[in-house]
């Protein structure tokens, strides 16, 4: 199975609409150890029973407040951390069951772009080496084509060829993020996890990077998982959007249907909190009281019930399941239980 993956893939062969990544009931608990001998006294439920799937060539946006488990999902998909329970299937292959050798092979198909371009590049390597290191290691291209290959990737990402011999400190934030993108792209991946790739950048540079990601997606038929807390960016780039709260996916739908018709009270509050750059538009803002509860000791029942203005008795006792409201729109909230 993994043998097929190790061969260089030709993306054009694959039909669109095929499910590339499937995450089912994924759980990731971090133990809280007590004292010197590490007796486990509880768990931080960073990701608690999350399911979604991403089709080839599309972008899924994942939004939520800090500490809700967005990044943990990204890391678990790449197997940078081990899962606690559940499935992560890339092209039908369970990533967490692969042997070390097969994992190395599959990693070139799944890449990640990290949040902070200032700390995710090695300060001791020149840019050409940062981008090309993995390519050489995996012998993706013959030795004599190596230089041309790296140059081509750099040009694709808006870098100049003569940047190859420079070091990361000589670049601005936006350019560093381009280097990170080039590094991910150099391995000819099919799927890229973008973990807040633009939140450290200025607005005008943000637009450049978002446009670059979109262009590359069209050119190489890439699939993205786009993690961000900036809802307007997610709205712009995504095809489907998942909203997370305290380790749970509370709403998951197509972009248009979720932004036109948000159902979960948390999604509504989150969307209404986006400031609109127009002084005459005064939206009806739903202001959530208090702050996000501790994931080590989450509230019973629906985790959002402590801050929800529609709270009912059932919310405090029973964990709501995912309910399909319409095709491609699911929500985890007791308010909609009766409608189905």
């Amino acid at each position: 199975m993994a043998e097929a993956l190790r061969n260089k893939t030709n993306h054009a062969e694959h039909p669109e609409g095929e499910v590339l990544l499937e995450v089912k009931n994924l759980k990731k608990y971090y133990p809280i150890s007590n004292g010197m001998f590490g007796k486990t006294k509880g768990y931080v439920k960073a990701v608690d029973d999350v399911s979604f799937s991403i089709k080839r060539g599309t972008t899924m946006g994942l939004v939520g407040e800090s500490g809700c488990g967005k990044t943990t999902i990204g890391k678990t998909i790449l197997r940078l951390t081990d899962k606690t329970e559940g499935e992560v299937k890339f092209k039908g292959i369970e990533i967490h069951d692969l042997s070390k050798k097969d994992l190395r092979a599959i990693r070139s198909h799944i890449q990640i772009i990290f949040q902070d371009p200032y700390s995710s590049l090695s300060p001791r390597l020149p840019v050409g080496e940062i981008i090309g290191e993995a390519v050489r290691e995996k012998k993706l291209v013959p030795k004599e084509d190596f230089d041309d290959y790296i140059s081509q990737i750099m040009l694709d990402c808006g870098l100049q060829v003569y940047h190859k011999d420079r070091y990361p400190h000589e670049f601005s934030g936006g350019q560093r993020q381009r280097i990170c993108i080039a590094r991910a792209l150099a391995l000819n991946p099919e799927f890229i996890v973008c973990d807040e790739p633009v939140s450290a950048l200025d607005v005008s540079i943000q637009a450049q990077i978002i446009n670059l990601l979109k262009d590359l997606q069209d050119k190489y038929k890439l699939t993205y998982l786009f993690i961000s807390h900036d809802l307007s960016v997610v709205e712009h780039i995504s095809d489907t959007v998942g909203v997370m709260y305290l380790g749970n996916l509370v709403e998951y739908a197509d972009k248009n249907s979720i932004f036109k018709n948000p159902l979960h009270p948390y999604t509504k509050a989150l969307f209404s909190a986006i400031p609109i750059p127009d002084p005459d538009v005064k939206g009806d803002r739903i202001i959530l009281e208090g702050s996000i509860p501790s994931p080590a000791n989450p509230p019973s029942g629906c985790k959002f019930h402590t801050r929800c203005s529609y709270v009912m008795d059932i919310c405090k006792e029973e964990i709501p399941g995912m309910i399909f409201i319409e095709p491609g729109h699911q929500v985890a909230c007791h308010l909609y239980t009766g409608e189905k």
């Binding site: 000589e170 200025d202 607005v203 005008s204 540079i205 943000q206 446009n211 989150l270 609109i276 996000i292």
Partner: protein, 399 residues
């Protein structure tokens, strides 16, 4: 500086990159020369600042308009670094009217934070110096010039009449002191007649004012026990403790989540009407500005490129940079297939060009743009823009 010309002639294709390189590689001889020159300038400025018994005539002035709380005119704050002089703020002018919110917007490095630090006299000396311009602050019947006021007089104003909310609530509170004692300190310093009991009551009252549910509990807590939003509330309480006339909020919500950001902005708006002070809001988020500000100042590379009321700047954005900035922000009330992105990046602050700083990134530049940096042109009484495209048939002013 001759290097720059030679380099740009040699490598026409990517001018600014090569200039940046020539700045990064300065010979030791040049470096020593620059340091020596800097030392001479900063020593002279420091000497002037450290004089005893500065005559009052040097810093007491009159406001242009008594309804303004602050009038900044031609402010120049330079940093004398070893690679050359960085003109972080170069000729910035704007007014803050009483009881209004003025938003300052721009990208990182455009000088918005340095402007606010200059207004607090908190620029890192001796490298950073306010070398020109005036900052008139209204103290009732007369005004003081913060740019020239002696330090001991400034200490009476700072924290008492002008206070500041800093960007990162995580790092701007001292981790080894309790919340209560940190706020007490501000009140004690500016109100010597208060007894200990009164100070504590005032602190708890302030904590209540900013919406902290159990002020007595928080009074005894250390900063690490609070979440980001709570810490920002504490910072706001500290800033409001002496009922200042002007609050400078330097990116107060940037480090916070959107839902917490909404809470904090709501709080600031409520407090402004409650204590009737002016707010100077510094941010790079156009959405926050649109929601909070009455007047907007747009800065680019140390200069004001456009200013006006919020509706003028947002609905009749005139400077190509302002237009670009607004179009590059994805927004839910405006759907586009592809975001507009401003090409290039901000010029190197050590070697600013002698024409319009935005010309190299501007897609609307005309022939006149090759001339010297454009002065502000007034489009209406309040709306001004620094761009040659508006200078032909409009009244030209050096404002």
């Amino acid at each position: 500086m001759n290097n720059k010309n030679i380099f740009s002639k040699l490598f026409k294709r990517d001018n600014d990159k090569v200039v940046a390189k020539s700045v990064n590689y300065i010979s030791g001889k040049e470096l020593r020369k620059i340091s020596k020159e800097n030392r001479r300038i900063t020593d002279a400025l420091e000497k002037k600042r450290e004089r005893k018994n500065v005559p009052e005539s040097e810093y007491i002035t009159q406001m242009r308009d008594p309804n303004n709380i602050v009038e900044v005119e031609g402010l120049q704050t330079y940093f004398f670094t070893d690679i050359g002089v960085v003109k972080a703020v170069d000729g910035v002018s704007f007014d803050v009217p009483k009881g209004k919110t003025v938003g300052i917007v721009g990208e990182s490095g455009c000088g918005k934070s340095v402007t606010s630090l200059s207004m607090m006299q908190l620029v890192q000396r001796p490298q950073g110096q306010t070398v020109g311009g005036t900052i008139k602050f209204n103290v009732g019947d007369h005004a003081v010039d913060i740019a020239n006021i002696p330090t001991e007089k400034m200490q009476k104003i700072r924290g008492n009449e002008i206070s500041m909310i800093f960007q990162e609530p995580m790092t701007s509170l001292n981790p080894v002191f309790r919340i209560g004692s940190q706020i007490n300190e501000v009140i004690e310093l500016h109100n010597e007649e208060f007894s200990k009991e009164e100070v504590k009551n005032r602190t708890i009252e302030m904590l209540k004012l900013v919406g902290i549910a159990n002020p007595d509990g928080v009074y005894e807590m250390y900063p690490h026990e609070l979440s980001g939003g709570m810490r920002q509330r504490v910072m706001i309480a500290m800033a409001l403790a002496c009922t200042p006339k002007l609050i400078i909020a330097d990116e107060p919500t940037t480090a916070l989540d959107v839902t917490i950001q909404a809470q904090i902005m709501d709080l600031l708006r409520q407090l402004k009407s409650k204590i009737n002070s002016s707010i100077m809001l510094i941010t790079h988020d156009l959405g926050v500005i649109a929601e909070m500000a009455d007047y907007v100042v747009v800065m680019y590379a140390g200069r004001v490129i456009e200013k006006g009321t919020a509706s003028e700047v947002f609905h009749q954005a005139s400077h190509p940079y302002t237009v670009g900035l607004m179009e590059s922000k994805p927004s839910s009330n405006r759907k586009v297939e592809r975001l507009y992105s401003i090409p290039g990046s901000v010029p190197n602050p050590v070697n600013m060009p002698n024409y319009c700083y935005f010309k190299d990134r501007c897609d609307k530049s005309i022939k006149a743009c090759e001339g010297p940096y454009p002065p502000l042109t007034f489009l209406s009484d309040t709306h001004a823009v620094a761009c040659y495209r508006y200078m032909d048939n409009e009244e030209v002013s050096n404002g």
